[in-house]
């Protein structure tokens, strides 16, 4: 099934609308000091078929609902994997869920990374901070489709060495044939022997054939702006740069308008956009 079909079906089907399905937490894995990955399974046993880049609305009973990107393997749809940072009341409640507890899930929602555009080309994933979570499904997909891609590069920037998300997995991917992993941190003490600097510095160093590269960028919005510019400057075509935007989502299906960005509703038209579709909107103060 193509990613586009999955995205379309999920938004318009009844199960992707306003009615949450019950999921049970099967595993809880602390990632960073304030960040947890939950593995969940549908109580009714039906898998949650998603495409890389999509999100769900997680509903903690009696607390509230929050939009969270799916960070698991799209081929392993029996388990819903999501990485959450404890920030506000709802995300803290999600992070505090323990094995066996239940949560409401709506989705999958939103558009997908157009991964199939990378067939026959180089794929570059540029992620910053927790932006690695929404891009991890692309990495799983790329691992399963390596023979159809020229190369895969993961460019990851974060605050400090102890803030590297999925560190053991990144190490494993760096030792995987066909995958190149570059990590840079904003600040480091003497026990770090890797790169120190912004992620945009690493982009040109890891590009192979910019004109034949498809890039997926996810992270803080300013980082995405500068990252997209670095890709453009290096020669990656604008239409082959894709971003995942974030706004305050409430309904998740384009009804309420909370996540409006100019002519777009991020939950319905996004979160994944081609760079040309949002480039000019990203510098408008009022948006």
């Amino acid at each position: 099934m193509t990613t586009a079909v999955v995205a379309e079906r999920s938004v318009h089907s009844g199960e992707g609308g306003m009615l949450p399905r019950a999921f049970e937490v099967r595993a809880r894995r602390p990632e960073l000091a304030d960040c947890v990955t939950l593995e969940m399974a549908a109580v009714d046993g039906r898998p949650l078929d998603f495409a890389p880049g999509q999100f769900t609305m997680l509903y903690v009973h009696g607390v509230g609902e929050i939009a969270i990107s799916i960070s698991g393997d799209p081929a392993a749809d029996a388990t819903l994997v999501q990485t959450v940072r404890a920030v506000g009341a709802v995300s803290k409640a999600v992070c505090n869920l323990q094995e066996g507890q239940r949560i409401g899930v709506r989705g999958p929602l939103g558009t997908a990374w157009p991964v199939e555009r990378a067939f026959g080309k180089h794929l570059m994933i540029v992620a910053g901070g927790l932006g690695l979570a929404p891009t991890r499904p692309i990495i799983y997909w790329a691992l399963a489709n390596r023979d159809r891609l020229k190369s895969v590069a993961i460019v990851y920037g974060t605050r400090a060495p102890d803030q590297i998300l999925y560190a053991p997995q990144l190490l494993g991917w760096s030792n995987t044939e066909g995958l190149r992993v570059g990590i840079t941190v904003d600040r480091a003490a003497e026990d770090w022997s890797g790169r120190v600097g912004v992620v945009t510095d690493l982009v040109p160093a890891m590009l192979r054939d910019p004109a034949e590269t498809v890039a997926m960028v996810c992270g803080p919005e300013i980082m995405m702006r500068f990252g997209a510019q670095a890709l453009l400057d290096a020669g990656v075509p604008a239409e082959d740069i894709h971003l995942s935007l974030e706004r305050n989502m409430k309904c998740g299906i384009g009804w309420c308008g909370h996540c409006q960005l100019g002519p777009h509703l991020i939950c319905r038209d996004g979160p994944v956009f081609s760079y040309p579709a949002v480039r000019d909107l990203m510098t408008v103060w009022e948006l």
Partner: protein, 164 residues
């Protein structure tokens, strides 16, 4: 090298991104101030407050720009990589380094005698202008990336007052 000829220093400079595209007369002039150097892992290319008499065009290996802080050891400000320039304090008085530069692994570089280059730039303002045109983007890029890091973009929202 495939033709059996030794590369001249002018050739080496012309191959580095900083000076790529300069005319041969200029690279010949610059070459008179330059020489190839090697550093082992942990060697210092220079240390803070030393005279900024040689800067480096990095050809292989990585260099960490650092400061030492009592109680916190070495703090890495930035790492630089092949194709980059190590050192800009040679351009302006008092010509002293502001940071330590330490080799991370084996480093190959071209060292440029800063006093020699300054003298040539003073004697030939046209060449000096070209050299400054090459260095200004390096300094501007470092400033821009430093500003981005000052924003602490990856900070947890709670630390920067965003309640989500």
């Amino acid at each position: 090298m495939t033709d059996g000829k030794m590369k001249s220093m002018a050739d080496i400079l012309a191959a580095h991104p900083l000076f790529a595209g300069l005319d041969s007369e200029t690279t010949e002039l610059l070459g008179g101030c330059a020489g190839n150097v090697h550093f082992s892992n942990g060697d210092y290319l220079f240390k803070v407050d030393e005279p900024a008499d040689t800067f480096y065009l990095l050809r292989g290996g990585d260099v960490a720009l650092e400061l030492r802080m009592p109680g916190r050891g070495r703090l890495t400000v930035q790492t630089v990589h092949p194709g980059a320039v190590v050192g800009a304090s040679w351009i302006l008085p008092p010509y002293r380094w502001r940071f330590d530069a330490r080799a991370v692994g084996a480093v190959r570089a071209t060292g440029v005698d800063a006093a020699c280059l300054r003298t040539k730039c003073d004697a030939d303002p046209s060449m000096g202008y070209q050299v400054m045109q090459r260095f200004l983007p390096v300094v501007a890029e470092r400033l821009q990336t430093t500003r981005l890091r000052l924003l602490d973009l990856y900070a947890p929202p709670a630390e920067v007052g965003r309640a989500l």
